[in-house]
Symmetry: C2
Subunit: 172 residues, 2 copies
DNA sequence: GGGACCATGTAAGTTGTTACATGATTAG
DNA sequence: CTAATCATGTAACAACTTACATGGTCCC
């Protein structure tokens, strides 16, 4: 059994609010996709699979072939089980892979890469802070805000670490 | 052009020190695999591809069919170019995906998940701190230590965030 | 009628996983 | 001699991407 997170992402969005593949795609693009991107092709395929497996059903048919999906009880159960199960630690980080191998670069180039990481993190920080400030939040967005705060703290940590790392290299 | 990071990971390890697929596998298991896991099957396949593409070559043949690989100049160039290029921000986080969808769980269960995340981060923190303390580091491990420090800071951030998140939920 | 947008799907290719399959050498 | 370890490879499958393909509806 592998991960199948897209399946759960789709299930979760439908559990929050029924909709068509097209609707879900919009929601991925605006919010969820920031933490779990999905391509159009993959999403439509997965919706058909979820329906085939009896976790969701076509609850309404609209114009232009629109199929609105709704979660069925087995789907809700599957979603809850997945949500309550321990989240596995993430493993792959291209950033850290580069850091591990940075000794293959001239020191000046390695420093440049670290400075770039720092600048990128600062930019992310600004971007998320803007979203935080201007967003019109209500109580239903509580968990979304937790995720945003995670992003803020992560960007801050990354920027601080990169600055520290450059300093370390300067010492030696 | 997609990512091909395993290719660069293998290239990087060979650039640090030539070796066989079996050797590399050991090094993935002990160090590099912490930031970029590779399966045996994938690694051997990739080494053959790297050789076919002229980025590495079989530099020696040992007993039991052992093939020692070494990086060729085009491989070194490719590696340096990749290392100096900006690291793309990582996108997928199963953890944050769960956080986004946590509203589908009873509040008590959501809190339990967050507490589990916190406990897991604390455990990681302990584990990495132990590695940091007992490791016998020399100057050649400078970048490895930067990566370790990143892991420490990240685990700390995660634990603090999760504790804060539980608090937030308790307030509402 | 034509452009923007709504709406769904398939095909080919890449990356990665697990499982299978095989054989050589070394140490007890 | 036999178990552990060294050593490499293939096949089947899952997840994901990009590109292709098609058609309906709304609004100007």
């Amino acid at each position: 059994m592998t991960c199948m997170s897209l399946r759960h992402a789709a299930l979760g969005l439908l559990a929050q609010q029924p909709g068509s593949g097209y609707d879900l795609l919009r929601r991925f693009e605006t919010t969820l996709g920031n933490v779990w991107p999905a391509s159009q092709s993959q999403l439509y395929t997965e919706l058909n699979r979820l329906a085939r497996d009896g976790l969701i059903e076509v609850s309404a048919i609209g114009g232009r072939g629109r199929k609105e999906y709704a979660v069925l009880p087995p789907g809700r159960q599957e979603l809850r089980a997945w949500l309550a199960s321990p989240a596995e630690p993430e493993e792959r980080s291209e950033l850290l892979l580069k850091v591990f191998l940075l000794d293959q670069l001239a020191p000046a180039d390695a420093r440049a890469q670290l400075r770039w990481i720092s600048a990128d993190a600062e930019a992310t920080l600004q971007r998320l802070a803007a979203i935080d400030a201007e967003g019109d939040w209500d109580e239903s967005d509580a968990y979304e805000r937790l995720a945003l705060e995670f992003g803020l703290r992560y960007a801050r940590m990354k920027a601080e670490w990169a600055a520290w790392a450059v300093e370390q290299l300067d010492l030696s």
